[in-house]
């Protein structure tokens, strides 16, 4: 009997055939049903009926987040409202939110894509999935939920917040799969430990599917040690669906794209040129069979690359690398581009400090001042002022050679950097108010 997992090991040519067929239909559907695309293609002189190969897609103009905002709320929809079953919105931290619509078919695909994370972990009906992403307009909660149900897991819709109750349920209901942001997983682990529990023994977790924010390898190792499970990174965005666009397999060596539903290109964010496989750049996604809100060549602003070669797990869907930040997370400090992930890479070479950090950007006398706050680990012997100053200097020196920009490093009290229950606040930019 044919299983939904079969597509994960289909020959890549078969996936490419699905992609070409789907892209042709999507581009035409967008042109005929979405006034934005009609105008865009006419003005760019792009013929939506002339796609003959996957490479032809590179002739189509990009879609940006601003385009989605400009068409708020329903002007990007390619189906009538009566076919739309659900709406999600990305948080509008920088203005108007972007809206994603889902038909029954779209919801089914979403569940299928997220369920792959469970399948990669050889999971299914024997698993209990604890979902504490926020439920609501944010795609994390319901995306994971649909995936859990699709994979046959007993799915617990905890949503975010009420940490003590989360911990009680984790203990008492024997959850084996945890879905939430990585920072919240760490918060749960730390809270449980502070309550005198040992999550490795008192919980029954074997896999965590964590996404919606970037986390370092060091952070992953710390989580795995505290919770005694394996962490899989999940990628997705409301503009193309939600979590599940790509998920790591147990090899933990890149995230398998759901290539039967999304077509990925990596471009140079400055020139828009498509880059060869293996090179780092901005991820651009085209939906292959999305009905309600299809997008063509959507610029995600996420920096990654396609990992060349095949995965040891035997699945044929190509992998994207773990994100190297976002084009809009990129900090420009005294004219130098800095990705927070570069800072994390340096920090993890210092066992004396934990993985929690915060970057404070201020401006003094028209000069950017960057302060990196880090927390000491319990085994760091800070008895002498000299030891603290030496450590601050060492971290600062290593950052300077890695980033070519000077940062002031400050050791701060443990737990003084806020642990959010949602996304971690890594950067505080108050350069607007010059001091």
């Amino acid at each position: 009997m044919k299983k939904p997992q079969d597509i994960l090991t289909a020959p890549h040519e078969e996936l490419e055939a699905i992609q070409l067929e789907g892209i042709k239909k999507t581009v035409i559907k967008c042109y005929e049903n979405v006034p934005f695309y009609h105008k865009l293609y006419d003005e760019a002189g792009f013929d939506p009926y002339a796609i003959e190969s996957l490479d032809d897609l590179a002739k189509a103009p990009f879609t940006t987040k601003q385009d989605l905002r400009d068409n708020y709320p329903f002007k990007m929809f390619a189906v009538p409202q009566e076919d739309v079953r659900e709406i999600h919105m990305s948080s509008g931290t920088t203005g108007i939110a972007t809206v994603g619509g889902y038909t029954e078919h779209d919801l089914d695909i979403w569940g299928d894509c997220f369920a792959r994370g469970v399948w990669y972990a050889d999971g299914g009906p024997k698993d209990v999935m604890h979902v504490c992403y926020g439920y609501g307009l944010f795609t994390g909660g319901l995306g994971a939920h649909y995936g859990g149900v699709k994979a046959g897991c007993t799915t617990i819709p905890m949503s975010a917040g009420n940490t003590e109750r989360q911990i009680r349920v984790l203990r008492e209901m024997g959850s084996t799969i945890l879905c939430c942001t990585p920072s919240y997983a760490m918060y749960l682990a730390d809270t449980a430990i502070a309550m005198g529990l040992d999550p490795k023994k008192d919980f029954h977790l074997r896999v965590g599917i964590h996404g919606a924010e970037a986390f370092s390898d060091n952070f992953r190792a710390e989580l795995e040690k505290k919770l005694g499970y394996k962490v899989l990174d999940v990628y997705g965005l409301t503009e193309t669906m939600g979590p599940g666009v790509a998920i790591e397999c147990m090899e933990q060596n890149g995230l398998h794209l759901a290539e039967d539903h999304f077509y990925a290109e990596i471009i140079d964010p400055k020139t828009g040129e498509v880059l060869p496989e293996g090179e780092w750049g901005e991820l651009v996604l085209t939906t292959i069979d999305r009905e309600a809100t299809p997008v063509v060549r959507y610029r995600t602003r996420d920096i990654t690359r396609i990992i060349p070669g095949e995965c040891a797990c035997g699945r044929t869907h190509r992998r994207i690398d773990r994100l190297h930040g976002r084009t809009d997370d990129m900090l420009i400090i005294r004219g130098v581009n800095v990705f927070p992930s570069q800072i994390e890479d340096v920090m993890k070479t210092f066992p004396q400090v934990s993985s929690w950090y915060q970057i404070e950007l201020t401006r003094r006398n028209h000069l950017d001042v960057v302060t990196l706050k880090v927390e000491p680990n319990p085994d760091f012997d800070f008895d002498e002022v000299r030891a603290i100053e030496q450590l601050q200097r060492d971290i600062s020196d290593r950052l300077k050679s890695a980033l070519s920009v000077g940062l002031r490093v400050r050791i701060v009290e443990p737990k003084s950097i806020p642990r959010s229950e949602g996304k971690a606040v890594r950067v505080i930019d108050s350069r607007g108010d010059d001091q």
């Binding site: 000491p376 008895d383 002022v385 603290i388 050791i411 009290e413």
Partner: protein
């Protein structure tokens, strides 16, 4: 050698009060407390009756505290008492990282020292006829 409690403290309002309250709640009796201060943070060094319990209590109250082995020497409370001691250590080329004094009882002062080579320092101090506090 005695155990000193060292606490890493940010220079924010009320932290020192919270620290001493946490120790009081744990029924810890302090004999000495000094603060080494920088513009961003301070290191609070405490001599108390129950250092291990003190660290556990501070840990539980959200502070980062450690114990450190230091030398505590009883010196006569008279002019030149400390000078005599330090000259002995100096002659041995022992580096003093930091030190502070407190009066335990009348007529005597206790001098707390963090020294680069504590084993040698202890021997030198005893050989010189000073009494080590326990």
């Amino acid at each position: 050698m005695i155990k000193q409690v060292t606490v890493f403290l940010e220079n924010t309002k009320g932290r020192l009060a919270a620290l001493t309250r946490a120790l009081a709640d744990a029924n810890v009796n302090m004999e000495a407390l000094t603060i080494a201060e920088t513009s961003d943070y301070g290191l609070v060094r405490i001599i108390c009756d129950k250092p291990v319990e003190a660290v556990a209590a501070l840990d539980g109250a959200g502070f980062r505290a450690i114990t450190t082995e230091v030398i505590a020497v009883v010196v006569p409370n008279r002019p030149g008492g400390l000078a005599d001691l330090l000259e002995k250590l100096d002659a041995l080329d022992l580096n003093i990282e930091y030190g502070y004094c407190f009066s335990a009882k009348a007529g005597e002062a206790v001098d707390v020292l963090k020294v680069s080579d504590p084993t040698r320092a202890v021997k030198a101090i005893e050989d010189a006829g000073f009494e080590l506090a326990k």
